[in-house]
């Protein structure tokens, strides 16, 4: 077993390199075959739709996320919403926020945009940085590899929360917050993905088809692009599918700690932070964002699991090439969990 496999995070060695071509068609077919993943996809889709159409929905409701409604809260009692179900009514579908009387539905809808958007952005950045560094380490010579691999170790060793606290303070406040949060998560938490890509690259580049490409006369860059990157797609997609929900939680944790997005922008984590003391007085204030966060993370995780199973080469059943290939009644095995680190998330 190579050093690469030793130091690589879990799940890396689970990625089989001689993956059969799971073309897009096969992928969808296999994804569709999983009922749980389908349900999760539906739920996730609804949430995304909810986020995308938030402005429309809010318009439909007729409220907005920033207007204060002091008349809707009981000032003498700390500002609990007046009326049952948190002051839910025709004009405030899910009631209003305690203290401010801002419309809860509108804030949840906008929060969906921020939470999912930030998580998505963070995931994209993580993938971009992680793949670049991993690829460079995997392809470079011993020194380049050592350099990037140590760098990855450093990044993995840095607690996200701390870096976020410091970096959010350093960056000018005019910088758009959601983007900044995405950047920070993306730039601090790419270590694992880089490790995966590195290990996968090292494994892939020993494959015969890479040797064949080299014999064809291609240069390293071309080989990386044409032969390796597609091979990395499956593990990277798998891992990022599992990373996405983790990022949703990280964003909420950062906002909870007060270093995430800022008022009056709503995000679920920030709403949770504000609401955690209201669990008894105005439960819906806590339960709604918590529920949405829970649902989103659950759906995305299940979906990520589904993606992983659908992309798992070993789930393709036996690959038969002559008698030397796999034997016996081996059932398709799921790949080991590529467990994304929740650094600082929790």
């Amino acid at each position: 077993m190579s050093e690469a496999q030793l130091t690589s995070p879990v799940g890396v060695d689970a990625v089989v390199v001689s993956a059969p071509a799971a073309g897009a068609g096969t992928f969808w077919r296999r994804l569709r075959a999983q009922r749980a993943a389908l349900c999760a996809a539906a739920v996730a889709g609804l949430l995304v739709l909810f986020a995308l159409t938030a402005p429309l929905l809010i318009l439909l409701e007729g409220a907005d996320s920033t207007t204060y409604h002091p008349e809707l809260v009981d000032s003498a009692r700390g500002g609990v919403p007046i009326g049952s179900f948190g002051g839910a009514s025709g004009s405030h579908w899910l009631g209003v926020e305690p203290q401010t009387g801002r419309d809860l539905f509108a804030r949840l809808a906008e929060g969906a945009q921020v939470s999912l958007g930030v998580a998505l952005g963070a995931t994209l950045i993580q993938v971009a940085v992680g793949v670049s560094v991993g690829l460079a380490a995997g392809l470079g010579n011993r020194w380049v590899d050592q350099l990037f691999d140590r760098l990855t170790d450093v990044v993995i060793a840095l607690p996200l929360v701390v870096m976020a606290l410091a970096m959010l303070a350093v960056v000018p406040e005019d910088f758009p917050r959601p983007l900044l949060v995405a950047l920070i998560i993306g730039l601090v938490a790419w270590g694992t993905i880089a490790k995966i890509v590195r290990a996968q690259t090292i494994a892939l580049k020993s494959l015969d088809y890479v040797a064949a490409a080299r014999l064809s006369g291609w240069n390293t860059w071309r080989i990386a692009r044409r032969e390796l990157l597609p091979g990395l797609a499956a593990p990277v997609l798998t891992y990022s599918a599992l990373l996405f929900p983790v990022n949703v939680v990280i964003e909420s944790a950062l906002s909870f700690l007060g270093v995430g997005v800022k008022a009056p922008t709503a995000s679920w984590g920030q709403m949770l932070a504000a609401a955690d003391v209201w669990y008894q007085a105005a439960p819906q204030y806590l339960l709604l964002p918590a529920g949405l966060l829970f649902t989103a993370v659950l759906a995305l995780t299940v979906l990520g699991d589904g993606v992983r199973t659908a992309l798992d080469p070993r789930a393709a059943g036996r690959l038969r090439v002559g008698t030397r290939a796999g034997q016996g009644p081996a059932a398709p095995a799921p790949a080991a969990d590529t467990a994304p680190r929740k650094e600082g998330a929790v």
């Binding site: 077993m1 050093e3 030793l6 130091t7 995070p9 879990v10 799940g11 060695d13 689970a14 140590r150 760098l151 170790d153 450093v154 993995i156 060793a157 840095l158 607690p159 996200l160 929360v161 701390v162 606290l165 410091a166 970096m167 303070a169 350093v170 694992t192 929900p245 939680v249 909420s252 944790a253 909870f256 700690l257 984590g269 949770l272 932070a273 955690d276 669990y279 806590l286 918590a290 829970f294 649902t295 993370v297 659950l298 995780t301 299940v302 034997q327 016996g328 009644p329 081996a330 095995a333 799921p334 790949a335 080991a336 969990d337 467990a339 680190r341 929740k342 650094e343 998330a345 929790v346």
Partner: protein
């Protein structure tokens, strides 16, 4: 073996060096007038200048960093006003805010953090590996589906919500436990455990989900391996196959996962420690960051970096012990 240790040591030193430089650079840029924060809001400019001089804040960055390095290797002297004391190497300097030796401060906070982490790790291994094994064994059945859903739910609830709800229910509503307050182990081991129970559970629940999923898929993978087929073909009961052979095979990746979770643990501890008022390193860190107490931040980051790198090295060693086929290179 020796070369493994040497290489790891080299990596460790390098990692720590990079971390310290990084932290210095980032915090150098961070806003906040450290001298003013240390002196108090109503200090006069002259006083602030004096404090800054005393903390070496007016030196250029590289001088401060050099000062830090020499302190680390040779220790440094500092004055309490009435006396001059020596901070022995490895000296991480003095806290800007409380004038205390960072090394000593960290050592003071360490037991609480370690108590929290150790218990949580044990608990999440028990919960996580237990449910993972069970759901792999009963794959396809109702047990598995219930367990899978539960563990997924675990990942989806942020620690801060989980901890608060647990505390409100267990201590407030049902009065099953007193509200946790940290009791040092040396003082009263029993109370130590009782008071840490809830923090452990909180931290462990969130993490055990990952471990359960990991164990399960790792088990399923091992169960699909050829040597399992051999034992099936020889009539070895399923219980022995799962309990002996599959579990053993699933163990190695778990070790690696654990090591990688040290970093995550720090993050989790920050929230858990502040929620339950455990006087640990995580909370110290957040506070230090807020008041730009650089020596403490550097100290904690180095400690964490050390823990992560060290844990990874130990994991590799364990891995090699668990799986003799692995050669340490």
């Amino acid at each position: 073996m020796t070369s493994f240790v040497l290489r790891r040591l080299g990596g460790l030193v390098l990692t720590l060096f990079v971390i310290s430089v990084l932290v210095y650079a980032v915090f150098y840029l961070a806003p906040g007038n450290v001298a003013q924060l240390s002196c108090g809001p109503r200090c006069s400019p002259e006083q602030v200048r004096q404090v800054a001089a005393q903390l070496h804040l007016d030196d250029p960055l590289y001088v401060r960093y050099w000062h830090f390095l020499t302190g680390l290797f040779a220790g440094q002297d500092y004055s309490t006003g009435t006396a001059v004391l020596h901070c022995d190497a490895p000296c991480l300097g003095l806290s800007y805010q409380s004038d205390r030796e960072v090394t000593q401060l960290l050592l003071e906070k360490l037991p609480a953090s370690v108590s929290l982490a150790a218990g949580a790790v044990v608990l999440w291994l028990i919960i996580g590996v237990g449910t993972g094994v069970l759901s792999a064994w009963r794959r396809g059945g109702l047990t598995e589906r219930v367990l899978t859903t539960l563990t997924l739910a675990g990942t989806a609830v942020p620690v801060f919500v989980l901890g608060l709800v647990l505390m409100v229910l267990v201590c407030g509503q049902w009065e099953l436990l007193p509200f946790p307050q940290y009791v040092p182990f040396g003082e009263d081991p029993e109370q130590w455990a009782w008071n840490l129970l809830l923090p452990w559970v909180t931290l462990a629940l969130a993490e055990s989900a990952t471990f359960a999923r990991m164990t399960r898929s790792s088990m399923l993978e091992t169960l699909a391996e050829d040597h399992i087929r051999t034992f099936r073909a020889y009539g070895v009961p399923e219980r022995a196959i799962v309990g002996r052979h599959a579990l053993r095979g699933a163990l190695a990746p778990l070790i690696a996962l654990n090591a990688n979770h040290i970093g995550a643990l720090v993050g989790g501890s920050v929230l858990t420690e502040s929620l339950f008022g455990i006087p640990g390193i995580g909370r110290e860190l957040v506070h230090a960051v807020q008041v730009v107490d650089l020596p403490i931040v550097v100290g904690v980051m180095l400690a964490v970096g050390f823990a992560v790198v060290f844990a990874n090295a130990v994991a590799d060693l364990l891995y090699a012990v668990a799986d003799r086929r692995v050669v340490l290179s």
